[in-house]
Assembly symmetry: C2
Homo-oligomer: 405 residues x 2
Amino acid sequence: MLSAYIRYLPSQNVKYVNKHAALDLIRFAPGGISRVALAQRLALTRAAVTSIVNDLIKTDLIRETKTRAPSNGRPPIILEINEERGCVAGVDMGASHLTVIVANFGAQVLAEKEQPFKIADGPEECIRQADAALRSLLSTLGLGLSDLSAIGAGVPGPTIASEGMVLAPPIMPGWDRFPIRDTLEKLWGCPVSLNNDAELGVLGEWAYGAGRGEQNLAYIKVGTGIGAGLFIDGQIYRGATGSAGEIGHMTIDENGPLCACGNRGCLEALAGGRAIVNLARTAIQSGRRTELSANPESLTAMDVSNAAARGDLVAQEVLAEAGNQLGIALTSLVNLFNPNIVVVGGGVAQTGDLFLEPIRKAVLKRSLPAAAHAVRITTSLLGKRSTGMGAVVQALSIALHKIAS
Amino acid sequence: MLSAYIRYLPSQNVKYVNKHAALDLIRFAPGGISRVALAQRLALTRAAVTSIVNDLIKTDLIRETKTRAPSNGRPPIILEINEERGCVAGVDMGASHLTVIVANFGAQVLAEKEQPFKIADGPEECIRQADAALRSLLSTLGLGLSDLSAIGAGVPGPTIASEGMVLAPPIMPGWDRFPIRDTLEKLWGCPVSLNNDAELGVLGEWAYGAGRGEQNLAYIKVGTGIGAGLFIDGQIYRGATGSAGEIGHMTIDENGPLCACGNRGCLEALAGGRAIVNLARTAIQSGRRTELSANPESLTAMDVSNAAARGDLVAQEVLAEAGNQLGIALTSLVNLFNPNIVVVGGGVAQTGDLFLEPIRKAVLKRSLPAAAHAVRITTSLLGKRSTGMGAVVQALSIALHKIAS
DNA sequence: AGCACTTTGTTAATACACTTGACAAAGTAG
DNA sequence: CTACTTTGTCAAGTGTATTAACAAAGTGCT
């Protein structure tokens, strides 16, 4: 009720807004959408929709596909995005991995690549690696940079999207206020969007993954660090300075292990990648039988995760403990935010219920009943692609809307 | 960018939306607003605004007031809400107090009343008391129920505003799914809105208090319980089932005191009204010199608060400890929500910096720097009226928009 | 097979609501 | 007093929707 009217402030003319709304409705509709359904969603008449859809068909961005079996009466014609209209890329520069995805306008992945990467190497070196990876991936498809209409980029720090840079990023030394977007746009010769990796994760899961179409959604990325992307009432929520969702430094245990941020007992220090490794090492040093003791010095969280999936009891206990701590932290998020769904992503989360069940138990035990019962906690459907697919969604937003204008 | 177009779904014709947006802009503009400024905010021309404003003037909801001193050129005419056009009421049914406010259409308080109250007495008894208080207050103004255009009501539980009832409220026995709004509408013969008290608190502070006009705002109410209202991107944020903002049962210390909810170490058990009393009693029993030892059995949090304001060292220490615990909890909120401002309300918070300074210290120490520096932590400007004034805002929303239709 | 009915999509006339361009109104400055 | 500026209004023109009617593509029944 409050200010609902003020929110409608068209900076473009009415038809422009309606056309772009229709394009987004078509794009995010699983299985396409008919003109009649568009009219309903847009609160317009069928006649108005005819005009708008005809404009979009002229741009070749959408096309008529099959008709649906009619219940009774004329079968509706289904409209979908024309996937052959062009290509975009998503570039996920993570703390320790680089993922590059090339997709068509229908958001279908044409090729992808992941490689080791250190965001801490600084902007010039990281951009050089991302560029080389992108060009290499494109060449496997017989494509070049000029075939990309737009590119979405993700980084592990708080971004000011409008400025195309990060602000005081905790784990990105040398990147503070570096003109990331402008640099990439010059290098790649097409429009680039820049977002925080967890934001893109929630976007990817909302658009095409486990949280598809949900209204209030949190995406938790469990990696070296732990971050959350928040999707509130149909929008990414960034907060006042772009740092919303910082869950990794939530105090879980005041007397817990020292965290990289300087405090004690942060979630990251209890359930992040390093914490999982440390828990495993402690168990090894106490003489527990586990396949992990083969090489404790080079242990990774993924080693623990894989061993757990293979039935290793110690690894399973470590994951359960980390899951429990994450569940304790999620109590706050669930109580404050009251989401429909929490999607847990990152490599460790792919073990599924071994990690998720302790999370669910802790949330159910510790959250208020109303919020606990309202939330579904699930693993990512996009696997390690959540952020990369979110970057693809951002790139498509730029590309499609630009062509439609 | 994402779905920005889809958000514009006018369920009314365009002029209706613009007229109501103009009304809200006028209403929430401190000191009124000119037609030229309206045109800017609405992205319309001066000519279009003339037509809209003339319609609103015909309803007698707004009027032209003084002109402002011109910098150079014609002085703009200031438009304001016509405060004499009618009256509304705000009824705040809290856990232990009932507050009733009668205000005019300009949101100026004409009369108010507060009395002891127990929400746990159940809906019939509570509604009876609220009704009597409202009628009594109106009679001091020579008014009756028929003089009210609408009424806003607040309760301390998770509300589904569209249903006009509360859902599984933790501290409101007997109220679950009771048709509160429908009952009040029949009893009072005018439209009634129903909202959670913390939601109304944040609304009141946003509209007329310390958070006026802020984009991302949290209001913390420290009473017997502790709750938060969240205001995100221009809207109250309720969550999936209306329970967003439940901060009182956030785990601060796993080994802390038992909370009424059954868990240990909840914020409410460490910093709520009962916790403050318990901390004071512990100090008394350990032999500390304090004016509070005069009558420990009937001690209230307000007694502690007032003694602290008078310089009592023990009382100040108790407040500082409660403030510290609240600050620890606010770390999570600040990290997750990255607000511009946190407004702390409720009786205890009126002692000001004695309570706020420990909060600020804990937030600054424990939150990520970006979020900690972006947030201003302040006490409520509306004092104990935050929720009641939020209820007035809701009532005005109903009344003004109905007349404008 | 033909007809009645239903739902979907289109067309052209009409209605609505804004913009444009010009002018009036109310100030300041020289 | 004149020139200039900003604010507010008016009427003609423009943009974009709605309405009413019809065409199109099915199902179901006789």
